[in-house]
């Protein structure tokens, strides 16, 4: 290897510098609490009504779909007061869920439940203080128990649910790099894939998620969708379907839908969602009850069938017959791929457009870079 002395010295200095900086990096604790005190942002509508709380900074242009299906976009953020204001954009139209008067269980017959529902947890340390004694337990967080309950409840309904408990610690953004590998391996080993769910819990005060569903106290569930990936439409369709079924069958179970700036590995497969089961201040048992109820909703939202609805107090409120999701979902997935291809073509177009001249533009396609100087030889 040809490398002069100065270059070698520079390389050694860089190595030592990298090692030194790496050594002094402070340890990061769970849930993004880098500030001296944990802070919560509160989101208000333009009339000053509280919409929700977030464990960390709310950003302008974030989108939020409330429990009553109103679509908001964040317009201003006051970092000092930890307050944000969102503009009401309109009501979200959820899919219609038919009420089944005859109550005949016809749809369950012949519905293909062979496709697998894959579960994993990016932040495997997330735990519930009242039940686990800490908000974080590396490699064995309470969230894995909630995911296990969710898996069992799905399996009890005849669905092939697979849970991968691979730890992804430390609890940081790098965890998504590691959980990506888990998700890909799950998909590789368990094809065909019906859906991929990343199981989390939030980090806001307990009251934000504590609720009563079907006459039992449990946590609400938030659905998080990544805004910047080709599967957004397909994922949104599944989220809306889940919310529509839950609103009819177990009102109060789905807290809201948050459309965030990340991809959360949701670009890997259509029908990928992230669920937040309660917060670190709720009990794990209440989150498990939410997981059992969500399994019923997922079953009916994805595979169809009849299901009896319950009020928040647990009284019967009719029978519903959601249709399987296959049709809508395929449409969303294809649109996503089309957008991806269009994006690549547009990117290539821009790349050509920034060329210095016509000849250079052509040279990018043909690869021939014989300019005047070459020809002179």
């Amino acid at each position: 290897m040809r490398m002069n002395k100065a270059a070698k010295k520079l390389l050694i200095v860089c190595l030592l510098l990298a090692a030194a900086i790496g050594w002094y990096i402070p340890k990061v604790y769970a849930d993004d609490w880098f500030e001296p005190q944990a802070g919560y942002y509160t989101l208000f509508d333009e009339s000053g009504n509280e919409l929700t709380m977030m464990a960390r900074e709310i950003l302008a242009k974030d989108e939020y779909i409330s429990e009553d299906n109103k679509h908001y976009s964040v317009t201003s953020v006051d970092k000092d007061k930890k307050r944000a204001v969102a503009k009401y954009l309109g009501d979200v139209k959820l899919p219609e869920i038919e009420e089944d008067i005859a109550s005949i269980d016809v749809w369950v017959q012949g519905i293909d439940k062979n496709a697998n529902i894959l579960l994993y947890s990016t932040h495997t340390d997330e735990s519930y203080i009242p039940s686990d004694g800490s908000h974080t337990k590396p490699g064995e967080g309470g969230i894995l128990d909630v995911a296990e309950t969710f898996k069992n409840a799905l399996q009890n309904r005849g669905i092939n649910a697979i849970l991968d408990k691979t730890p992804h610690e430390p609890h940081d953004a790098g965890a998504y790099r590691r959980s990506r590998q888990t998700a890909v391996n799950l998909m590789k080993q368990h094809s065909p894939v019906a859906a991929v769910f990343d199981i989390h819990r939030d980090a806001v005060p307990a009251r934000v998620y504590a609720t009563k569903v079907d006459g039992k106290s449990m946590t609400k569930v938030r659905i998080v969708i990544g805004s910047r990936n080709q599967n957004r439409k397909a994922n949104e369709e599944l989220a809306y379907k889940i919310k529509a079924v839950a609103d009819k069958v177990y009102p109060g179970l789905i807290k809201d839908i948050y459309i965030g700036g990340g991809a959360y590995n949701q670009e890997l497969s259509p029908r990928s969602l992230l669920f937040e089961f309660g917060t670190h201040e709720n009990s794990k048992e209440s989150a498990k009850r939410a997981a059992e109820h969500l399994a019923v909703v997922i079953d009916k939202a994805m595979f169809g069938g009849t299901v009896k609805g319950k009020t928040q107090e647990g009284e019967e409120k009719g029978t519903y017959r959601p249709e399987p999701i296959t049709q809508e979902d395929t449409r969303g997935g294809s649109r996503g791929i089309l957008w991806l291809v269009l994006l690549v073509v547009a990117g290539a177009g821009i790349f050509f457009a920034i060329s210095g001249g016509r000849r250079e533009m052509l040279s990018k396609v043909t690869g021939s870079f014989k300019d005047k100087d070459d020809k002179r030889e």
Binding site: M1, R2, M3, A7, K8, L10, L11, C14, L15, A18, I21, G22, V28, D32, M54, R56, E57, P138, G139, P167, H168, P170, D172, A173, G174, Y176, R177, R178, R180, Q181, V184, M187, D202, A203, G260, G261, G262, A263, Y264, N265, E267, L268, S269, L340, V344, A348, F351, I354, G356, G357, R359, E360, K364, V365, G367, F369, D371, D373, D374, E377
Partner: protein, 234 residues
Amino acid sequence: MPLGLTLLVVATILVLFGVGQRMLDRMRLSDKTAVLFMVAIFIGSLIPDIPLGRDLFINIGGAVVPLILVIYLFVKAGTGMEKARAAIAAILSGLGVYLAGRYMPSEPETIIIDPNYAYGIIAGVIGYLFGRSRRASFIAGVLGVILADLAQAIENILLGIPTRIRLGGAGAVDTVVIAGFLAVILAEVVGELRERIQGGTAKKSMVYQQGEFMRRERSENKYEGGDDENEQGS
């Protein structure tokens, strides 16, 4: 169609149609070699990870093939200075990726740019600033993620963190591959923009031959440059 396969098909078609051929030329890759590497990445992804030691694994498509490409590009680097620049860019990129993974927001509601794509951008910027070439950017992208993962593996052993490190474990769609390709594309676009802004190449006195820049005034055969690939123009 899975994302990895979609991207592979799109990229292969683009290469076969000649798009980005000049970019590949600058990386000393023929169309055939480029397609071969892409197919190797995809097929290698299907093979189970190889254990390297306690809690450390490596994937053929996601890490071994990109590493072979990195070594090939490194050996082909024109000068000792270019090699040094590429090595420095890779180390700084590794540090950048490690810090990004550690300090970027991790809660779903707080993420602005997905960390898995930020690595490619970080490596691309570092590769361009320190390596000044597409080769260095690719090397910085691939090695950046792998070095950051190795640093994490050491930290896991020291602190007893129960996490397996799987280098390139997601195969063709692993952040190693994404960072490598994103860094090259970024270097290409930034290089082109810079050239357009400054009104042409800064190497008008040079001749481009066999993938290298050579000074024209003394001897056409004597190699004296070639690392500042972004600055060539029409």
